[in-house]
Symmetry: C2
Subunit: 219 residues, 2 copies
DNA sequence: ATATTTTGTTAGTACAATCTAACTTGTTAG
DNA sequence: CTAACAAGTTAGATTGTACTAACAAAATAT
């Protein structure tokens, strides 16, 4: 059995790693507002249970099983948010706290029923994708930046695969998750793309970079 | 703050005492399937917190505050059951396990919304009354047996006030909570009532007894 | 390249909620 | 009325999840 507390750690790790495939003890500590030693020992425990790859002083990763567990919790969270908005008439900004609690309910029938009553939605009220009942996130909404066209306006959602070097490169360009990009031109020769975002001059991104950036078109 | 565990003890105590005003450590132990020493120390803790009257070797009682807390949890449970049946199309026998979990959700708005969507119901799908938002159980459905009429068919719901002697008397008559009674005659002189129930000859109950028995008419 | 800071780990403590074993009090049957 | 049994209590151990203090490793800045 997996406790509510453990579920919260898995979820935090999933969300933190969604971007770059790994996360640190420190990041989890900050996100959950729990001190680092507590996080550290919980990570060892989750490693024992087969949900996390743990090695001393190395960044943390979820195992495939850990990813699935986490995705299923996120599924419950997002289905709940959708249900609260669609069927109970809550505003989109009121539902998070309630969903944080209901996501821990153990009852497959309950969430299956919600899913059914909602007509099997694929995104929650905030546009985030809802994983399916096998924990697979159908990120249909996310596409690689190198598949976009001139004039598209997109939001940076994830980086896959990622490397330290790539993330450092993105930092120097002030490119972070959630940044909204406008595509100005695409160079036919090397497929490099010129984008603008924030209050800064346009930037040119090579195809090596654009092939790793997952974005969501603003539509 | 009151933990989920504490809530379960309060609810158990409320249900056990509803009938006779008090309950024993042993009864709670059996109902929750938790060993007596654990129950004992939890009762002391709840006493510290002002929810329970605890005295060594004496039966347990809820304080007014304890009753209110418990009733509010039961309110959440019964509202949830009603919601699951009415709005989510669950069968009446599928909802208990889910409600056991949802009753612990902390979100006044969530339950207020349920109440509203259900049109402010006063009983749950099993006919049990739903306490109001102040924790007051409007037991309008329960009436004293001495106010019934010939031909009425009723279910014994509670005994108030109760005494050891009265309960022993009821035991000798095989009268227990949930027993369905049919009223055959009422003696005008002393208002004693003749009833039948189960596979046994009719019994005569004195007005002293009938004035303490709370019943729900079967309608 | 080394000193400083940040991050990660270990060790030991605390508290909530559970247990078992042993003892005490209360109840009940001869 | 007392012996036996049931119920209640105390003491001490265990597990899960948190903490602080102290130390170790890694990253960073001068």
């Amino acid at each position: 059995m997996i406790s509510q507390t453990e579920e919260n750690y898995l979820k935090a790790l999933y969300n933190l790693t969604y971007l770059k495939g790994e996360a640190t003890v420190n990041e989890i500590s900050k996100r959950l507002d729990i001190k680092m030693p507590t996080v550290n020992s919980m990570m060892k425990k989750l490693s024992e249970k087969g949900f996390v790859h743990y090695e001393s002083y190395k960044p943390l990763k979820l195992t495939e099983e850990g990813k699935k567990e986490a995705a299923l919790i996120i599924r419950k969270h997002r289905l709940t948010e959708m249900y609260l908005v669609e069927k109970m008439d809550f505003a989109w900004d009121e539902v998070h706290q309630i969903a944080e609690q209901i996501e821990h309910i153990h009852s497959p029938e309950f969430f299956t029923k919600m899913d059914q009553l909602l007509g099997y939605p694929t995104v929650d009220p905030h546009g985030s994708p809802i994983p399916d009942h096998n924990g697979v996130m159908r990120s249909e909404n996310y596409i690689f930046l190198d598949t976009c066209e001139i004039g598209d306006v997109v939001t940076l959602m994830a980086v896959q695969p990622s490397s330290k070097e790539l993330l450092q490169y993105l930092n120097t360009k002030n490119l972070e998750l959630g940044t909204t990009l406008t595509i100005h031109s695409i160079e036919p020769f090397d497929r490099s793309i010129t984008v603008s975002y924030g209050n800064r001059p346009a930037e040119v991104l090579s195809s090596k970079v654009t092939a790793t950036l997952l974005v969501r078109p603003i539509s």
